[in-house]
């Protein structure tokens, strides 16, 4: 099967970026939007074709990894060479489909949402750039190519969060997002350096080869009680945790909601933030065979993040922030699934479940964000306290939002049920405590999602400045498409397609897990219904009852403040400022001291050069006399 056309999937978006970016200011904004959207439509078609061809042409039982092409980009040493190329395997093909689909929806949606904004062309250029970077990331043939696109994704995220660059809060959020992920990428980079040094390759196929240098000939070097491979994998996970906003590197994601809402849907819900999951999945064999310790860490961090974020989500008032924390929580699920997974056939259930959840989550989370965008578009506010009773004004948004909420709550037979259920099964088989946590989180998820849903669409009807109206079709069509995807994507035979070792795996339905998880979801929903269906004082009562805890959660457990303290107080005030002072006064002072000493001494010697002839005459004559005395009388 010839896949050489896949190069267009990478070349088209970058071409779009340059066309719209360079010529955008000269053309009609609508034209640039249409160019971007239609270009992306072609890309989406191409990825579907690729996916279809790939999944229908398996050789034997196992899906092979295909390196469509690769060329040398930059050689480092004889063996360490950065290639650029395209790698097709079930994982990357699945990601291609997810990214292009969501991206296309967002492109179409933005035609309506961003209409009339200043910098419309710039917006589409950035979107193309992001799509390019994200696609390049998932088809990377080697870890360094991935790092390259990883950074590009970070920058495009920075550009898009800071799209409203005249808003100081947007600028600050963009900066925070970039710097936090950059810090994480430092770990990623060092991890890459370590891993590549001991394995002498960047290539994914060589790295994940079960007989390859990373797994079979794993280095025995031990550093601080852990093998070097474990260190490397932990550091690489740090990079993943940064992008996927795992605790404690999660602080940038809620702030990133300053960007335009479609951007949040695309980048900060469906695609970029799952890059960390993708990274771990990509290197999963190494984690599993050479660094099981790191995998444990991933499971715990994922589990903790999902609980932590879910609790915070219950208290937030900004609807986009609620969704952001919900994203954190869901990515936590994915990480947990990877962390508890084994390798090969049935043991690899967690791996499959994680990616399955990634797949379904992309659709329903994008749907939630786009729905929220639609609401914000109508109400011109992000705060749920200023909303209510919108079901009458915006029927399509209402229905699709409800579908998404049901999906994320794990109500059968929507897609979220299947993927979440498999994660819970994997956790149940591996570690009971983690299972328990995830089970509770499922309940909390249902609660806060329906809290959001009821407050927006039911509850009391506040005074609107102007009557909210349904969004234009460019916005509602993507909503409907995504709603359909959320409903039906659960029936995709995922276990046949994307598995840890490329072989199909047989999943059984575990009633013992499924029933309690549905039940806890129901409980969460009904709890939310009681509190938020009509306006009443019960929420305040509950909040008062849990006063300290509520405040802590509302303040996001003060993690931001800790970071602010570390960066502003410690790094800026106690490192940077003294260094600046030290440099100006000590180092430069030393140099000036040398100069000043010279000036001082020359100043005192200068007096001899008085400019008065008589003194010179005197020096001259007494010198002559002294010389005479010395030469003729004293030798």
């Amino acid at each position: 099967m010839d896949f050489s056309y896949t190069i267009l999937i990478l070349l088209l978006p970058v071409a779009l970026f340059f066309i719209i970016g360079l010529l955008g200011s000269k053309m009609n904004p609508k034209v640039s939007g249409m160019i971007g959207t239609s270009g992306l439509f072609i890309i989406t078609l191409l990825s579907y074709v690729t996916a279809f061809n790939y999944f229908t042409h398996r050789t034997g039982e196992v899906f092979q990894s295909i390196e469509v092409f690769q060329f040398v980009w930059l050689p480092f040493t004889d063996r360490l060479v950065i290639h650029l190329g395209i790698l097709l395997d079930p994982l990357s093909v699945m990601m291609l489909v997810v990214i292009t689909t969501v991206s296309l929806m967002v492109h179409i949606y933005s035609l309506g949402y961003m209409k009339g904004e200043v910098g419309f062309a710039r917006y589409y250029a950035f979107l193309s750039f992001f799509t390019f970077s994200m696609l390049g990331l998932v088809v990377a043939t080697n870890i360094f190519q991935m790092y390259i696109f990883w950074e590009l994704v970070g920058v495009s995220s920075y550009l898009l969060i800071g799209f409203y660059y005249e808003r100081p809060s947007a600028v600050a959020a963009a900066k925070k997002a970039f710097i936090v992920t950059r810090f994480a990428d430092l770990g990623f980079l060092i991890g890459i350096l370590l891993l590549s040094f001991y394995t002498n390759t960047f290539d994914f196929i060589a790295l994940t080869d079960l007989n390859g240098p990373a797994i079979a000939q794993s280095s025995g070097v031990v550093f601080l009680g852990m093998s070097v491979t474990t260190w490397a994998m932990l550091l690489i996970f740090m990079g993943g945790a940064g992008k996927s906003a795992m605790f404690p590197l999660h602080i940038w994601l809620p702030d990133a909601m300053e960007g335009p809402t479609p951007v949040s849907a695309l980048i900060h819900a469906a695609t970029m933030v799952v890059a960390g999951v993708y990274l771990v999945a990509r290197l999963f064999p190494i984690y599993h065979f050479s660094a099981p310790g790191a995998l444990e860490v991933i499971a715990y961090i994922g589990s903790f993040t999902s609980l932590f974020a879910a609790v915070i989500a219950c208290t937030q008032l900004d609807i986009k922030r609620v969704l952001a924390y919900s994203t954190l929580s869901q990515i936590g699920y994915m990480m947990v699934a990877l962390g508890v997974s084994g390798y090969g056939s049935e043991a690899g259930l967690g791996y499959m479940a994680s990616l399955f959840h990634l797949f379904t989550h992309a659709f329903f989370k994008a749907l939630l964000f786009l729905g929220a965008g639609s609401v914000i578009h109508a109400v011109h506010s992000n705060l749920m306290t200023e909303m209510g009773g919108l079901r009458k004004h915006m029927p399509i948004t209402h229905i699709t939002f409800l579908v998404a909420c049901l999906t994320i709550s794990g109500i059968p037979p929507l897609s979220g049920f299947f993927s979440k259920d498999e994660i819970l099964v994997a956790a149940f088989e591996h570690h009971k405590l983690i299972f328990a946590v995830q089970w509770i989180v499922a309940g909390i998820t249902a609660f806060y999602m329906f809290r959001l849903y009821f407050t927006i669409f039911w509850n009391s009807n506040p005074q609107y400045n102007h009557v909210p109206h349904e969004s234009p079709p460019t916005m509602t069509i993507p909503l409907v498409i995504l709603a359909l995807a959320s409903v039906f994507s659960g029936f995709v035979p995922f276990h046949d397609l994307v598995t840890s070792d490329g072989r199909a795996l047989i999943t059984e339905f575990h009633w013992i897990v499924a029933i309690p998880s549905v039940l806890v979801g129901m409980v969460g929903i009904s709890f939310a219904a009681v509190l938020y269906y009509k306006k009443n004082s019960k929420p305040e009562t509950v909040a008062k009852g849990l006063k300290a805890f509520y405040t802590m959660a509302y303040q996001k457990f003060y993690i931001d403040e800790v970071y602010l303290f570390v960066t502003h107080k410690v790094i800026f005030q106690f490192i940077s400022r003294p260094i600046a002072w030290f440099d100006r006064h000590i180092v430069d002072g030393a140099m000036n001291l040398i100069g000043n000493t010279t000036v001082f001494f020359s100043g005192s010697i200068k007096k001899m050069q008085s400019g008065q002839m008589q003194e010179y005459i005197w020096y001259f004559t007494s010198g002559v006399l002294l010389l005479t005395l010395l030469i003729f009388y004293l030798n």
Partner: protein, 497 residues
């Protein structure tokens, strides 16, 4: 005729041309034509170089020509280039070319300004093509001296102080350097015979270890001062802050590279054993440079100071990589020199243009420039992204090559140093984004800024030249990397054996 000589003849002709032209408006055209010719010659040189190589010429140095200059001390005018020098020449001509256009609007003593600028550039070209230590030193001084006039006369702020400081510190450095060079000279024939300044000849003899150990610090620090080695870097913030735009560009973009180039070509290449045994001291110093410069940049308020400290950090990385003494890291160091040369020149050019409009360099007083001068702001963002190592721009290529290269050492000392140096990429991101955030984004702080004009054609030309160069290196680094790597194999062998 040796094509290298054109690199010296063209600046000379340009100077004569400028001196003869009386109309001040034509002066800049004459210099622009001269520097364009220089740029062209550099590319022709690159072409000829490839041609020679493909026709099977495997000499270390190409286009070698020798003329005895002073018989009794065996001083020669010896020119020749290899891949490294060619790439440095390309860098120099690109930066000079755009520097010329940045100074398009210099009004005060325009003729003299351009003449000094071209003398400076000529000195740099001469330095890079020289193979004789004495000639090298001569051209080095020729490049440093006009700097004093350029800063002292056309500078801003406390220009006399800065010019004096810069010149004195560099002169102090070159005093050390002279001691080192003479030390090498007088040990260049340990078994008797004729003493020589010839670089390639000296490389063949084995200088006694005691002499190496004694003279290596002199030579290394001598060049290191120019390469902003901690703690001899303090001329850089003051000097850059006072210098006129084009001079900052040339100085940070090219002249500081003389330091790194000299450290490698002279200090380490000629004194390899001393380089090995003393490397640890300088690795510590350069690691400090890298981190310290980056932290120092965070707290600055003046755009030029920020950039000067960032230069300290980046140039520290150059020396750091050189001291790793393996092929990859050294390739990275040269790449970093070129990359930093281009992007810092771009930075200074932009700062100059912004200063020319807002008449302040304090970031706190500016804001929201993206809205009023979008071209300059976008280019500034690109330069910033290059500086913080965005893939696709040159900084990434250089930094990654350095890090991978320096990671090839397995001992803890090198590892720790490397990881510390790596951490600078985060700090760089912090200060770059801080500046971008305050300066370009956000609301407009001063209503006068609403009337600012965006870039004029010559500013666009100079900015685009640099951006395109940065992007070309960043997107297809292979050719440059292989060009640099080509002579390194032999040189690194010489260093390690």
């Amino acid at each position: 005729m040796n094509p290298l000589l054109f690199l010296l003849i063209i600046p000379l002709l340009t100077i004569v041309g400028i001196a003869m032209v009386n109309d001040l408006a034509k002066v800049r055209w004459v210099s622009a034509i001269g520097m364009s010719a220089q740029l062209l010659i550099s590319f022709v040189l690159l072409y000829l170089f490839y041609q020679q190589r493909s026709s099977g010429n495997t000499d270390d140095m190409l286009f070698v020509s020798t003329a005895t200059w002073y018989e009794s001390f065996n001083i020669q005018l010896k020119f020749g280039v290899d891949g490294i020098s060619i790439s440095m020449i390309l860098l120099t001509s690109i930066v000079t070319f755009s520097g010329m256009f940045v100074s398009w609007q210099v009004e005060f003593l325009r003729k003299e300004f351009f003449i000094s600028l071209i003398i400076l550039a000529g000195g740099v070209f001469g330095f890079f093509i020289s193979l004789d230590l004495f000639t090298m030193f001569l051209f080095y001084e020729m490049a440093v001296i006009p700097m004093y006039l350029l800063i002292g006369i056309w500078g801003s702020g406390p220009k006399e102080y800065s010019a004096m400081k810069l010149t004195l510190m560099l002169m102090g450095g070159s005093a050390l350097l002279l001691v080192g060079l003479l030390g090498i000279y007088f040990n260049s024939a340990p078994e008797g015979g004729k003493l020589t300044f010839d670089l390639t000849e000296i490389a063949k003899v084995h200088i006694p270890l005691s002499a190496q150990l004694f003279f290596f610090p002199f030579t290394f620090i001598g060049f290191g001062v120019l390469g902003a080695l901690f703690p001899f870097h303090t001329w850089s913030p003051d000097g850059h802050a006072s210098a006129p735009t084009a001079v900052s560009m040339l100085h940070a973009g090219v002249l500081m590279k003389l330091g790194g180039y000299g450290c490698f070509r002279v200090a380490m290449y000629l004194l390899p054993e001393a380089a090995h045994s003393l490397a640890w001291i300088f690795i510590i110093l350069t690691t400090i440079s890298v981190v310290y410069g980056a932290f120092g940049a965070i707290w600055q308020k003046d755009l030029k100071y920020i950039n000067a400290y960032s230069s300290v950090s980046h140039c520290g990385l150059v020396l750091f990589a050189l001291l790793m003494m393996n092929e990859t890291a050294t390739t990275g160091a040269i790449l970093q020199m070129i990359s930093h040369g281009l992007m810092t020149a771009l930075f200074f050019a932009l700062i100059g243009m912004i200063y020319g409009r807002t008449h302040t360099r304090m970031i706190n007083e500016m804001g929201g420039l993206m809205k009023v001068i979008p071209f300059l702001s976008v280019v500034y963002v690109i330069a910033g992204l290059a500086s913080l190592g965005l893939p696709g721009l040159s900084g990434f290529v250089a930094e990654m090559t350095i890090f991978v290269g320096s990671f090839q050492h397995t001992d803890t000392f090198h590892r720790v140093a490397t990881i510390l140096a790596c951490s600078s990429i985060v700090i760089t991101a912090v200060y770059i984004l801080r500046v971008v955030g305050i300066l370009l984004l956000g609301p407009i702080k001063n209503n006068h800024y609403l009337e600012l004009q965006d870039a004029q054609w010559f500013e666009k030309l100079s900015g685009v030249t640099l951006v395109v160069s940065i992007a070309i290196i960043g997107m297809s680094p292979f050719w440059l990397s292989s060009l640099i790597r080509e002579p390194l194999n032999q040189m690194i062998n010489h260093l390690t054996n």
